[in-house]
Symmetry: C2
Subunit: 236 residues, 2 copies
């Protein structure tokens, strides 16, 4: 190849490829079921096939692409059943994190959770969807960390990343912001008084509602009729 790959960010070439391809999948630029040709990708990003192959391998491990021996890689196609299964798992994992957080969070962690949560109330009043989504991610990450269990944290973050494409639109539903905050409030209250069971139930309900909100968008997905499956392009 001729040109440099100077315009891409730092890190190893493979890391950049994982981010680049992963982003295009998550944002729906690459559609589910679409074939990922190694040579084309290599040419597209001006690298050789070797890092492309390694990136595809990692993305396959992440569940974003599917690979069959000697038959190449395709953008993972997520069926309705599998999507439901992932949301269900997410609800259970969040419940575990909330329960453990209620039982194990340090005083500092509890305080930080409470402070940030209260601060986010302003974003609801301002209807600042973008900022609220950022704080929402932070909030949940605090719960995951508060569980003080590295493996649970890994499983939860992994599942969340796989669901990322399907959660984008949740705050576009009218009144979702305020409802989300209220649900957070129930979780926080339970955690502050150390009630693990209540925190877990509240967290599970919270995710279930998000799941249903996303299902609304999935249902009107124009791709659905085509393949009877829902892909990451749902939000385009």
């Amino acid at each position: 190849m001729s040109g440099k790959r100077s315009l891409i960010r730092s890190g190893t070439t493979v890391d950049q490829m994982v981010r680049a391809i992963g982003d295009r999948i998550v944002t729906g630029f690459l559609r589910p079921g679409e074939k990922l040709d190694e040579a084309s990708l290599a040419a597209r990003f001006d690298v050789s096939r070797t890092p492309v192959r390694e990136a595809l391998g990692r993305l396959s491990a992440m569940g974003l692409v599917e690979r069959r021996p000697n038959r190449g890689a395709t953008v993972a196609v997520v069926t309705q059943e599998h999507l439901a299964s992932m949301f269900e798992s997410m609800a259970e994992l969040e419940a575990i994190c909330a329960r453990f957080s209620a039982e194990r969070m340090t005083a500092g962690e509890r305080r930080a959770l409470e402070v940030e949560h209260q601060a986010s109330a302003r974003l609801v009043q301002l209807a600042a969807e973008e900022d609220y989504e950022y704080f929402n991610t932070e909030f949940h990450t605090r719960l995951y960390r508060g569980a003080h269990s590295k493996h649970i944290y890994e499983l939860t973050v992994m599942t969340r990343s796989r669901l990322a494409p399907f959660r984008r639109a949740q705050f576009m539903l009218p009144g979702r912001l305020a409802k989300s905050w209220q649900e957070h409030d129930v979780i926080v209250t339970a955690i502050m008084r150390g009630d693990g069971a209540a925190a877990g139930n509240a967290a599970k309900d919270h995710v279930s509602i998000v799941s249903e909100a996303s299902a609304v968008f999935a249902a009107v997905d124009p791709m659905k009729s085509e393949t009877d499956s829902i892909g990451v392009s749902s939000y385009k």
Copy 2:
């Protein structure tokens, strides 16, 4: 390279490498923290470095090896905290599977579970550790499948595979076989009567006991004093 790779089993070369290296890690032949040199591994298995690299990438995704850019790969070192975290996660995941199984298993699945469970009683009487371990794996796999949730299944199987090295010795403890069967019996009974909560609690207790049994072995691990961490070589 000169020779063929005909003596290894079928599948792509990378698959074989993953199995070969993974087995050596799981069985403790390769010790935690040990450096995995690409060229040496390639020479050892008579392949080029390319499939070795890809295999190391997959094993890294599995959590069996750790990789740092430009610094090569090493056999993953599992700290006591992380090990405890994984067992804890396993207990929660098994609980979820058992609960869902109680609620969702088909009549056929319930029958098969019951039949196989009853059949395994003979293995306890015969003190057939090897065979019982096989049935034990089958039993738990039935629970994972019975949850009828693909993602939960994936998370559970993944966690189990990462814990595999640490579960080997559990049945070597005196009386563990009979106790294991009795614990299975509680789970099966709860599932048969559709009591999700009871099945979940029983499953959680079951794993917790396994965890403690493994902790016994971990505690006497000779490597422990060396690195203050527990590796897959515990059972050699």
